[in-house]
């Protein structure tokens, strides 16, 4: 295989912080690899564990969930729920043998375009050596 593996990443990002931070990265013309497809949700608290499993079963090589910083949630406490709920999801995924790099959470504020860029860069870098995710993929 001559071509380098390019992981497909599904990113669930909240409208108020991370999506705004991602917009800022765009406005500031920063650059990150195009491996990530974003889905904007209202709040990280609205991300059901099923969304994560669904993305992995649809062939995502990695999933990112990103919301407002703890304490800064636009809806006051949605990201606290996300943090607790998704920490369990992460444990479960690791328990069934998925590499921990494949599911990540981050907190990116509306002013952190640089941080968003860095997170995507790091994520792609970490996922590349792992190769395609086949464990939960529906049609591997």
């Amino acid at each position: 295989m001559s071509q380098e593996f390019e992981p497909k990443i599904m990113a669930f990002i909240c409208k108020w912080c991370t999506s705004a931070g991602a917009d800022l990265a765009g406005v500031s013309r920063m650059e990150y690899p195009p491996n990530v497809i974003p889905i904007q949700v209202m709040c990280s608290g609205s991300i059901s564990p099923l969304y994560v499993f669904s993305a992995l079963s649809q062939g995502a090589d990695g999933v990112l969930v990103s919301g407002c910083h703890p304490g800064d949630c636009h809806y006051m406490k949605g990201n606290y729920f996300a943090r607790r709920r998704l920490a369990l999801v992460k444990k479960l995924l690791e328990y069934i043998g998925l590499e921990p790099e494949r599911f990540q959470m981050s907190w990116v504020s509306a002013t952190e375009g640089v941080k968003f860029t860095q997170i995507i860069k790091d994520l792609v870098k970490e996922l590349k050596p792992l190769g395609p995710q086949t464990k939960l993929r529906r049609n591997p």
């Binding site: 599904m10 991602a22 497809i37 889905i39 608290g45 669904s54 995502a60 006051m76 729920f81």
Partner: protein, 650 residues
């Protein structure tokens, strides 16, 4: 079969430079349910919008995706265009292929497939979107203003003058706030009380303003347009209608406690009027100071004995007053940072180490020294005074990282006024930087230096201690690199500005956020500076951030205008993308009730029910429900599932 239209914007070369827009349109045209796809150079332009409108009508489209910039910019534009063509605005979605695609990638060969995926995902979403109508609620045409300082006074007057009823709540016995304590104001040296008291009088006489002094907000419920507020009216034990302000009661009251208005530099009696111009013009019996009130339940009664009009009533009880309001303005102001935390400057140990507000009182004609500048310890005129700026501010290691903003200016004013009182005195100012941004502010600082010979030393003070009856100030002048020692008669500390005590509790009652330093958080630092995150609650004055009087007044008028924009409506509209309960799936487990940050969900007949007006549509409930029985309209689990497939498939 759905008939979705896809419109791909070039945004000049902003998108077309890295995304092959023609290919995006061509690929999307093949997507199931897409009846029409085209690209255009500027979709947001009038011709671009007309093109969308025309296509909706001609191709009989039932939904629209515009692949363009961030939805924060043109979602409203395109939804309105869809509406003009007869579509429900919620059947239009934006695919963000600029900020989150073309602007952050460089290779067209890889950005184009990503743009296609993002656009497909939006198509899958919009295909399932329902036509929604905004939720409408009636509006209570009355406002609540919390805090009777200059910001609260201004907001109340603006609202009242616009013809709306206002309830102005102030926790202390008089309105006026810190501005009433100041001697003169920078940069004009206007007498502070002289410009404030006319506004206070206007408040007291205003037919639309109901002033509730010595009262506190106890509980707030409801939502924009329809808040219900419980206000605790503390007993003053004096009937304001009978009180003639004869002042006989204070002459006989045996109790002396520190006078808050004079920042503790003088005492007051248990029965008192904060200052002569106080509004409401009446006396207050401080039940925490009066020994009879709590200890024995029998007051000494001397005040009542001498009160000829019989205004004193020991049986007065706390009262809870309920008011309905449509909008709330929070103007709770500031307090100075606790000086006790600055042990190195000797506050509390040396009586002649004062804070800025205490110095204001010493300068004030109505102050403890009747306008003569005498130091507290021995009532002598201080010949050398050291002013220290940024005490507790701009000090991220030990205290607060932010700039308190007003200290540079009031310290220049203090030094100047000091020289006006003590002509042969010398004022020194230790500063980090001089920040005098503001109309005529820079000139004012120059006046202090040039006309009044104030000596500015750039550096911090390490220690203040007493030696031979003088206060020795050890500091450094970083411009010469030399250590400085000044023997002073008085030291004035420009303490950091903090949100007033009780701000945190009040913010909790109002369900509004605080920023990292404890000030009230605005909805957007640049574009929504007077709004809180909670719709219908607005911010004014130093409770939001340290600010000077003109800024506080300006913000108050801004907040009043924002409140009027609500009160002037007969009905309010609210985004309809709120949660909905599928009653046949709901088991009534109440998990959603517990996680809702807005208390918008309740159980009714064993099933969850959403108050559409309280719901903000965050979706935390939907992620909690293990049966998907509660879902946010137009972003249901089905929407997301299909968006995931469209994003990753192919």
């Amino acid at each position: 079969m759905k008939r979705t239209g896809v419109f791909v914007c070039h945004c000049g070369i902003n998108i077309a430079g890295t995304v092959d827009v023609k290919k995006v349109a061509a690929e999307l045209a093949k997507h199931p349910g897409v009846a029409h796809a085209e690209d255009y150079v500027y979709m947001c332009s009038d011709p671009g919008q007309n093109l969308i409108i025309k296509a909706i009508k001609e191709k009989n489209l039932d939904s629209v995706v515009v692949a363009c910039c961030s939805p924060n910019l043109h979602e409203t534009t395109f939804r309105n265009a869809a509406k003009l063509a007869g579509l429900n605005p919620y059947r239009c979605e934006i695919a963000n292929i600029r900020e989150q695609c073309s602007w952050v990638h460089r290779e067209m060969s890889r950005a184009t497939p990503k743009a296609i995926r993002i656009t497909r995902s939006a198509v899958e979403r919009v295909k399932r979107n329902e036509a929604l109508e905004a939720v409408s609620v009636p509006v209570t045409k009355r406002a609540l203003v919390i805090g009777g300082g200059i910001a609260g006074i201004q907001a109340a007057l603006d609202l009242g003058n616009a013809g709306y009823e206002v309830v102005l709540v102030e926790k202390s016995p008089s309105i006026g706030g810190h501005m009433s304590q100041l001697s003169e104001t920078f940069p004009t040296l206007d007498c502070s009380q002289c410009i404030l008291t006319p506004k206070m009088v206007e408040v007291s006489k205003h037919p639309k303003i109901k002033l509730m002094a010595y009262s506190e907000v106890q509980e707030v419920s409801g939502y924009v347009g329809n808040f219900k507020v419980k206000i605790l009216k503390k007993p003053t034990y004096v009937d304001p209608d009978k009180c003639t302000l004869c002042d006989e009661c204070t002459k006989v009251c045996p109790v002396v406690v520190p006078n808050e208005f004079d920042t503790g530099l003088t005492g007051r009696r248990a029965i008192y009027i904060p200052f002569p111009q106080a509004i409401p013009a009446t006396y207050t019996l401080d039940d925490k100071a009066c020994p009879g009130m709590f200890d024995t339940a029998i007051a000494c009664g001397k005040c009542a004995d001498v009160c000829k009009p019989g205004a004193i009533n020991f049986d007065m009880k706390p009262e809870i007053v309920e008011v309905d309001v449509g909008a709330i303005i929070v103007a709770t102001g500031y307090d100075l940072y606790d000086k006790a935390l600055m042990a190195e400057y000797g506050y509390g140990k040396y009586p002649d180490v004062l804070d800025g507000l205490q110095f204001e009182r010493l300068l004030s004609a109505s102050g403890p020294t009747r306008g003569r500048l005498l130091r507290p310890s021995d009532k002598k005129e201080p010949k050398e005074v050291v002013f220290i700026q940024c005490v507790g501010s701009r000090d991220p290691e030990l205290h607060w990282p932010y700039c308190s903003k007003i200290c540079c200016m009031y310290t220049a004013k203090h030094a100047m006024l000091y020289k006006h009182h003590v002509h042969d005195g010398q004022a020194y100012v230790f500063y980090i930087d001089i920040r005098s941004g503001g109309k005529n502010y820079e000139e004012f600082v120059h006046r202090a230096v040039e006309e009044d010979g104030v000596l500015y030393l750039r550096g911090k003070v390490s220690r203040v201690f007493e030696n031979n009856g003088r206060l020795i100030v050890w500091g450094v002048d970083t411009l010469t690199g030399k250590q400085v020692e000044i023997a002073a008669d008085m030291v004035v500390l420009a303490m950091a500005i903090r949100p007033s005590r009780g701000t945190e509790e009040l913010a909790k009652k109002l369900k509004i956020a605080l920023d990292k330093d404890g000030f009230l958080a605005e909805a957007h630092p640049k574009l929504r500076p007077v709004e809180s995150m909670t719709s219908g609650i607005f911010l004014a004055g130093a409770a939001q951030a340290p600010k000077d009087i003109p800024e506080a007044v300006g913000q108050a008028s801004g907040a009043a205008a924002k409140a009027i924009a609500i009160l002037s409506q007969d009905r309010l509209f609210h985004s309809p993308t709120v949660a909905r309960v599928l009653r046949n799936l709901c088991t009534g487990c109440a998990m959603c009730v517990n996680v809702c940050p807005y208390e918008a969900i309740s159980l009714k007949e064993g099933k969850a029910e959403v108050n559409e007006i309280l719901c903000e549509g965050c979706g935390t409930c939907s992620a909690t429900c293990y049966r998907n029985a509660i879902q946010v309209k137009n972003l249901t689990p089905l929407h997301v599932q299909e968006m995931i497939i469209a994003s990753l498939g192919g």
